[in-house]
Protein backbone atom coordinates (compact mmCIF):
# COMPACT_ATOMS: atom_id res chain seq x y z
CA UNK A 1 0.00 0.00 0.00
CA UNK A 2 1.72 3.17 -1.22
CA UNK A 3 -1.14 5.55 -1.87
CA UNK A 4 -2.65 5.23 1.62
CA UNK A 5 -1.52 4.98 5.22
CA UNK A 6 -3.28 4.04 8.44
CA UNK A 7 -5.10 6.68 10.44
CA UNK A 8 -6.56 6.32 13.94
CA UNK A 9 -5.83 2.61 14.26
CA UNK A 10 -2.80 0.78 15.53
CA UNK A 11 -0.54 -0.99 13.05
CA UNK A 12 -1.24 -3.31 11.23
CA UNK A 13 -4.83 -2.00 11.23
CA UNK A 14 -6.64 -5.25 11.88
CA UNK A 15 -10.35 -5.05 11.09
CA UNK A 16 -13.20 -7.35 10.18
CA UNK A 17 -14.80 -6.16 6.98
CA UNK A 18 -17.98 -7.41 5.40
CA UNK A 19 -17.08 -9.39 2.30
CA UNK A 20 -13.38 -9.57 3.21
CA UNK A 21 -13.29 -11.11 6.69
CA UNK A 22 -10.44 -10.28 9.05
CA UNK A 23 -7.70 -8.30 7.32
CA UNK A 24 -4.75 -6.10 8.23
CA UNK A 25 -5.28 -2.83 6.39
CA UNK A 26 -1.55 -2.18 6.25
CA UNK A 27 -1.05 -5.18 4.00
CA UNK A 28 -3.85 -4.67 1.47
CA UNK A 29 -3.33 -3.60 -2.13
CA UNK A 30 -3.73 0.02 -3.22
CA UNK A 31 -6.67 -1.11 -5.36
CA UNK A 32 -8.59 -2.47 -2.36
CA UNK A 33 -7.49 0.47 -0.21
CA UNK A 34 -8.87 2.87 -2.83
CA UNK A 35 -12.19 0.98 -2.87
CA UNK A 36 -12.46 1.05 0.94
CA UNK A 37 -11.41 4.70 1.11
CA UNK A 38 -14.10 5.62 -1.41
CA UNK A 39 -16.62 3.68 0.69
CA UNK A 40 -15.69 5.92 3.61
CA UNK A 41 -13.58 3.69 5.84
CA UNK A 42 -12.09 6.14 8.35
CA UNK A 43 -8.87 4.23 8.99
CA UNK A 44 -7.13 5.14 5.72
CA UNK A 45 -5.74 8.45 4.58
CA UNK A 46 -3.86 9.50 1.48
CA UNK A 47 -0.09 9.68 1.44
CA UNK A 48 1.61 12.47 -0.54
CA UNK A 49 1.82 10.04 -3.45
CA UNK A 50 -1.87 9.24 -3.13
CA UNK A 51 -2.81 12.92 -2.91
CA UNK A 52 -0.92 13.59 -6.14
CA UNK A 53 -2.82 10.78 -7.84
CA UNK A 54 -6.34 11.61 -6.62
CA UNK A 55 -6.01 15.39 -6.42
CA UNK A 56 -3.46 16.25 -9.14
CA UNK A 57 -4.70 19.84 -9.33
CA UNK A 58 -3.83 20.49 -5.69
CA UNK A 59 -0.61 22.40 -5.22
CA UNK A 60 1.24 23.07 -1.97
CA UNK A 61 0.31 26.41 -0.41
CA UNK A 62 3.00 28.99 -0.99
CA UNK A 63 4.30 30.42 2.24
CA UNK A 64 6.19 33.70 2.01
CA UNK A 65 9.16 34.07 4.29
CA UNK A 66 8.79 36.64 7.03
CA UNK A 67 10.96 39.64 6.44
CA UNK A 68 13.20 39.66 9.51
CA UNK A 69 14.02 43.36 9.18
CA UNK A 70 10.28 44.17 9.32
CA UNK A 71 9.90 42.02 12.40
CA UNK A 72 12.76 43.85 14.17
CA UNK A 73 11.19 47.24 13.50
CA UNK A 74 8.07 46.20 15.43
Amino acid sequence: MKLFRLKGIQSPGRVDLKGHGEIALETISDKLAEKLWKEGIPYLELTDKGRKKFYPEQKPIKVNKIDKSEKKKK
Binding site: G8, I9, Q10, S11, P12, G13, R14, V15, D16, L17, K18, G19, E22, G40, I41, P42, Y43
Partner: protein, 183 residues
Protein backbone atom coordinates in the same frame (compact mmCIF):
# COMPACT_ATOMS: atom_id res chain seq x y z
CA UNK B 1 -43.10 9.15 2.29
CA UNK B 2 -43.02 5.59 3.56
CA UNK B 3 -40.36 3.04 2.71
CA UNK B 4 -42.61 0.00 2.61
CA UNK B 5 -41.82 -2.39 -0.23
CA UNK B 6 -43.05 -5.73 -1.52
CA UNK B 7 -41.88 -8.57 0.69
CA UNK B 8 -41.51 -11.56 -1.58
CA UNK B 9 -39.60 -14.82 -1.68
CA UNK B 10 -36.68 -14.72 -4.07
CA UNK B 11 -36.52 -18.00 -5.90
CA UNK B 12 -33.12 -19.68 -5.99
CA UNK B 13 -31.73 -17.74 -3.05
CA UNK B 14 -30.76 -19.48 0.19
CA UNK B 15 -32.35 -18.40 3.44
CA UNK B 16 -29.69 -19.76 5.78
CA UNK B 17 -30.53 -19.46 9.47
CA UNK B 18 -28.10 -19.00 12.34
CA UNK B 19 -25.12 -16.90 13.27
CA UNK B 20 -21.43 -17.36 12.57
CA UNK B 21 -19.34 -18.63 15.47
CA UNK B 22 -17.52 -15.36 16.08
CA UNK B 23 -19.35 -12.33 17.39
CA UNK B 24 -17.92 -9.09 18.74
CA UNK B 25 -18.50 -6.78 21.67
CA UNK B 26 -17.11 -3.46 22.87
CA UNK B 27 -17.71 -1.11 25.75
CA UNK B 28 -19.73 1.90 24.64
CA UNK B 29 -17.40 4.12 26.66
CA UNK B 30 -14.54 3.02 24.39
CA UNK B 31 -16.34 4.02 21.21
CA UNK B 32 -15.55 7.47 19.91
CA UNK B 33 -17.90 7.46 16.92
CA UNK B 34 -21.03 5.33 16.83
CA UNK B 35 -22.72 4.62 13.48
CA UNK B 36 -26.37 5.65 13.50
CA UNK B 37 -29.53 5.10 11.50
CA UNK B 38 -30.07 7.85 8.92
CA UNK B 39 -32.48 10.64 9.88
CA UNK B 40 -34.30 10.57 6.55
CA UNK B 41 -33.98 7.10 5.04
CA UNK B 42 -35.03 6.89 1.41
CA UNK B 43 -35.20 3.12 0.96
CA UNK B 44 -36.09 0.04 3.04
CA UNK B 45 -32.35 -0.77 3.27
CA UNK B 46 -31.58 2.68 4.64
CA UNK B 47 -34.34 2.22 7.23
CA UNK B 48 -32.39 -0.58 8.87
CA UNK B 49 -28.73 0.02 7.97
CA UNK B 50 -26.40 2.00 10.19
CA UNK B 51 -24.57 4.83 8.49
CA UNK B 52 -20.93 5.40 9.40
CA UNK B 53 -18.28 3.26 11.02
CA UNK B 54 -17.33 2.40 14.57
CA UNK B 55 -14.28 4.42 15.55
CA UNK B 56 -12.72 3.50 18.87
CA UNK B 57 -10.81 5.58 21.37
CA UNK B 58 -7.03 5.13 21.41
CA UNK B 59 -5.88 1.52 21.62
CA UNK B 60 -9.37 0.15 22.23
CA UNK B 61 -10.96 -2.50 20.05
CA UNK B 62 -13.89 -4.85 19.69
CA UNK B 63 -13.30 -8.16 21.41
CA UNK B 64 -14.31 -11.55 20.03
CA UNK B 65 -16.89 -13.89 21.44
CA UNK B 66 -16.90 -17.50 20.29
CA UNK B 67 -20.09 -19.51 20.29
CA UNK B 68 -20.66 -23.14 19.39
CA UNK B 69 -22.49 -23.50 16.09
CA UNK B 70 -26.23 -23.61 16.57
CA UNK B 71 -26.14 -21.96 19.99
CA UNK B 72 -26.58 -18.30 19.15
CA UNK B 73 -29.33 -16.15 17.76
CA UNK B 74 -30.53 -12.58 17.39
CA UNK B 75 -34.21 -11.81 17.58
CA UNK B 76 -36.58 -9.00 18.40
CA UNK B 77 -40.16 -7.93 18.87
CA UNK B 78 -42.13 -4.75 19.29
CA UNK B 79 -43.01 -3.82 22.84
CA UNK B 80 -45.28 -1.36 24.60
CA UNK B 81 -48.83 -0.21 24.17
CA UNK B 82 -50.28 1.32 21.03
CA UNK B 83 -48.82 4.75 20.30
CA UNK B 84 -46.09 4.10 22.85
CA UNK B 85 -44.17 1.35 21.14
CA UNK B 86 -40.48 0.61 20.90
CA UNK B 87 -38.62 -2.51 19.83
CA UNK B 88 -36.94 -5.06 22.08
CA UNK B 89 -33.75 -6.50 20.56
CA UNK B 90 -32.45 -9.73 22.03
CA UNK B 91 -29.43 -11.96 21.52
CA UNK B 92 -28.67 -15.37 22.98
CA UNK B 93 -25.07 -16.60 22.98
CA UNK B 94 -23.54 -19.78 24.42
CA UNK B 95 -19.79 -20.05 24.83
CA UNK B 96 -18.32 -23.50 25.53
CA UNK B 97 -16.00 -23.46 28.51
CA UNK B 98 -15.61 -21.93 31.93
CA UNK B 99 -12.08 -20.63 31.67
CA UNK B 100 -11.05 -17.51 33.53
CA UNK B 101 -11.83 -15.20 30.58
CA UNK B 102 -15.37 -16.55 30.33
CA UNK B 103 -16.01 -16.33 34.07
CA UNK B 104 -14.56 -12.82 34.18
CA UNK B 105 -16.94 -11.85 31.40
CA UNK B 106 -19.86 -13.13 33.50
CA UNK B 107 -18.66 -11.10 36.48
CA UNK B 108 -18.10 -7.86 34.55
CA UNK B 109 -20.91 -7.94 31.98
CA UNK B 110 -23.50 -6.46 34.34
CA UNK B 111 -21.24 -3.52 35.20
CA UNK B 112 -20.65 -2.09 31.73
CA UNK B 113 -22.77 -0.83 28.87
CA UNK B 114 -21.79 -2.75 25.76
CA UNK B 115 -22.57 -3.03 22.08
CA UNK B 116 -22.54 -6.37 20.25
CA UNK B 117 -22.09 -7.26 16.60
CA UNK B 118 -23.27 -10.66 15.43
CA UNK B 119 -22.69 -12.02 11.93
CA UNK B 120 -25.45 -13.91 10.16
CA UNK B 121 -24.59 -16.95 8.07
CA UNK B 122 -25.10 -14.92 4.90
CA UNK B 123 -22.59 -12.33 6.11
CA UNK B 124 -24.99 -9.61 7.28
CA UNK B 125 -23.83 -7.98 10.50
CA UNK B 126 -26.44 -7.18 13.13
CA UNK B 127 -25.73 -4.64 15.85
CA UNK B 128 -27.37 -5.02 19.25
CA UNK B 129 -26.80 -1.88 21.30
CA UNK B 130 -27.22 1.79 20.56
CA UNK B 131 -26.58 5.23 21.98
CA UNK B 132 -30.14 5.84 23.20
CA UNK B 133 -30.75 2.87 25.52
CA UNK B 134 -28.52 0.83 27.80
CA UNK B 135 -27.75 -2.77 26.92
CA UNK B 136 -28.68 -5.29 29.56
CA UNK B 137 -26.52 -8.41 29.73
CA UNK B 138 -27.55 -11.38 31.80
CA UNK B 139 -24.80 -13.95 32.15
CA UNK B 140 -24.91 -17.49 33.54
CA UNK B 141 -22.31 -20.20 33.91
CA UNK B 142 -22.56 -23.94 34.29
CA UNK B 143 -20.05 -26.76 34.72
CA UNK B 144 -22.63 -29.26 33.50
CA UNK B 145 -23.51 -32.33 35.55
CA UNK B 146 -23.36 -35.33 33.23
CA UNK B 147 -20.93 -36.62 30.64
CA UNK B 148 -23.04 -35.09 27.87
CA UNK B 149 -23.97 -31.84 29.62
CA UNK B 150 -23.17 -28.42 28.25
CA UNK B 151 -20.33 -26.76 30.13
CA UNK B 152 -19.98 -23.08 29.49
CA UNK B 153 -21.42 -19.63 29.84
CA UNK B 154 -24.69 -18.29 28.47
CA UNK B 155 -25.21 -14.64 27.67
CA UNK B 156 -28.61 -13.07 27.21
CA UNK B 157 -28.46 -9.58 25.72
CA UNK B 158 -31.41 -7.19 25.66
CA UNK B 159 -31.81 -3.60 24.60
CA UNK B 160 -34.53 -1.29 23.44
CA UNK B 161 -34.37 0.46 20.09
CA UNK B 162 -36.69 1.80 17.41
CA UNK B 163 -36.51 -1.36 15.26
CA UNK B 164 -34.82 -4.73 14.80
CA UNK B 165 -31.06 -5.02 15.40
CA UNK B 166 -29.79 -2.91 12.47
CA UNK B 167 -27.45 -3.99 9.71
CA UNK B 168 -23.88 -2.73 9.68
CA UNK B 169 -21.58 -2.65 6.67
CA UNK B 170 -18.64 -0.80 8.19
CA UNK B 171 -15.39 -2.09 9.64
CA UNK B 172 -15.04 -3.76 13.02
CA UNK B 173 -11.75 -2.58 14.54
CA UNK B 174 -9.86 -5.46 16.16
CA UNK B 175 -6.87 -5.96 18.43
CA UNK B 176 -3.66 -5.57 16.34
CA UNK B 177 -2.48 -8.97 17.57
CA UNK B 178 -4.56 -11.82 16.15
CA UNK B 179 -6.32 -13.85 18.83
CA UNK B 180 -7.08 -17.54 18.26
CA UNK B 181 -10.84 -18.02 17.88
CA UNK B 182 -11.18 -21.44 19.48
CA UNK B 183 -11.69 -21.55 23.25
Amino acid sequence: MSNFANILKTEGVNNTPGLKEIGYFALKSEIETFPVLPDSPGTPAEEVTLSGTFVMTAEKYFKKLFSTEGNAKVEGESQGEMDNETYLQKAHWVHPGTKAEALAYCKLAKLYDCVFIFVERDGERRVVGNTSWRTKVKAADSTGDENTSKKGITIEVETTDVGPAPLYNGAIPLDPTPVPAIS
